[in-house]
Symmetry: C2
Subunit: 353 residues, 2 copies
Amino acid sequence: MPSSNRRRVSDSSEFRLIQAIRRQSSTGPGYSSLLKGIGDDAAIIQFIQNEHLLVSTDLLIEGIHFDLKLTSFREIGYRAIIANLSDIAAMGGIPRYVLTSVAIPPAYSQTDVRALYRGLLSCCHQYKLQLIGGDTSASKKGLFLGVTILGTVENSRALPRGGAKIGDTIYITGTLGDSWAGLKLLHSKRAQPTQRLEKRLSQFLINRHLRPTPRLEIGRWLSTHRLATAAIDLSDGLSGDLGHVCRESRVGAMIDAKKIPISPQCRSFARHKHLNPISIALEGGEDYELLFTVPAQHQTQLKDIERHDGVQITAIGTIEPRKHGMRIKLANGSSHPLVPTSYDHFRKKNRPV
Amino acid sequence: MPSSNRRRVSDSSEFRLIQAIRRQSSTGPGYSSLLKGIGDDAAIIQFIQNEHLLVSTDLLIEGIHFDLKLTSFREIGYRAIIANLSDIAAMGGIPRYVLTSVAIPPAYSQTDVRALYRGLLSCCHQYKLQLIGGDTSASKKGLFLGVTILGTVENSRALPRGGAKIGDTIYITGTLGDSWAGLKLLHSKRAQPTQRLEKRLSQFLINRHLRPTPRLEIGRWLSTHRLATAAIDLSDGLSGDLGHVCRESRVGAMIDAKKIPISPQCRSFARHKHLNPISIALEGGEDYELLFTVPAQHQTQLKDIERHDGVQITAIGTIEPRKHGMRIKLANGSSHPLVPTSYDHFRKKNRPV
């Protein structure tokens, strides 16, 4: 019985309340094999000898996480798995099993449903994931996907969000902002088909949105060589996800705006749309790149590496004491507080543009 | 891009197609610890020494699985966990961890969301489950809950759906049809508040709907004493869920209508509403009782037991050769084919009344 005359959940304090309730629930005595509950990219459970089990879950909702006017059923199915693979990548793990629950409005056709499952299965096949369970039901309005992923990682090798130390260097894989630019291009393709960017450039960005690459190989490399103190995948946007790392690690951070890796394609897009590419990179989200922190003793191993497994790796800043908060140094040398303006599902307006 | 001019998913052949796609996906080489994929109450994975991990997931959708006009937020939260606990009970396992994803329309109040989480957490607390992860986001329309549960069971002690053998006796815990009767009472309470049944009787049935008891103790008893060859929880209704056991076990079944356990309260309800109580019990669903099959050598252990852990246990029939199909013997001695008319989310009209 929704009570519409009271304060609404769009108030972000509510989000904090929920987080608090959930956090509360994971404390206290429980089954002894739990190693990490709420608060990281995945929960960690003691598994078979020498291995930990990683568990993560996501809910994808039509009109919130995807738009059937812009994206095909197959693409939605594919992308639903990617978001979860990225959580396993951020833990340094190997994805193993997936469970998918699908709720489908009765008006959707057999062909649509088949395409959705084809997308889910093609992603599972590509990443050697086994679909081991799930649920299919009707929905009254809108398509809903629930995805739960299970992965494994060697004992004590999971990359936490909360391990960053003062002096650590902050690294980013790949380039940021492409996914958001791709999404905007999908929108404008429908709205103003004449105002298109050069086709190849536009295709690159759209592809980065529709078929992002979870950085599993890099996650494994960081985990097996114990290179990183903390890691997170960039689903909310750089400022928001760095905020998660700082909060969980009880540290601050300084990042250098001009070092943030932005693709030439995203820069062209920003010029074309009269937008600030740094702002897109900071707040865009859904790039599914990794952010990780590396202590001084491992810097030498990373200093000369510009790529791993074909993926660019860029140092963008340093972990600082908590009291400094999160800051960004702009091109003109001035530094400013960096406010986490991650893509908040309750406040969509916060996104750039 | 829904293609409304083609065949719709409400066609039940589509459901079979999806099942086929999903089944296909769980075959082939994979990570070696998978013991059972799609097709049972939960997937089974080799876990820490001597234990198997059980994993199950469910999606609960406003307007399909619950109605906010009839049920409070707290009750919905509580019940969302019960459905998953029942899957673990049907495997003979111990529930350990749960992950909950919640999608909330922005118009719902903080109080509503708090009540929902209170319901979720009170059920977790009652059953010593730890909430270890999840996701919270907005939904455009309607409340959505995704629940994933993890449980454990001793090696090779999980109760399968597919183990029933010819000659096994079919047992049922508790009474059937109460939940469906309770739901109808909730409806009629709103529609015709004058036509109420005696309050205590009505409250019993409503409570059976809102706060069903997962039969965890009985599941454990069957599993640790290796008493049952197959087990399933009755979420779809007796005819539908017995159908699952017969299909997975490649057997038929004969059940005796007059032996089906029906509570005096449900019988009164049926009389009052001019309904056949047997039909309610067969097709009602959501009772979360267990159906299990017991081989001849263990019958003596069960024959004299009318209750276990305070819960009634009733023999209702026998497993027969597959070629006989599923049949029901009526009070007049005649026997008829039993058609699985489980609660199909795509064809709600199939429910009794």
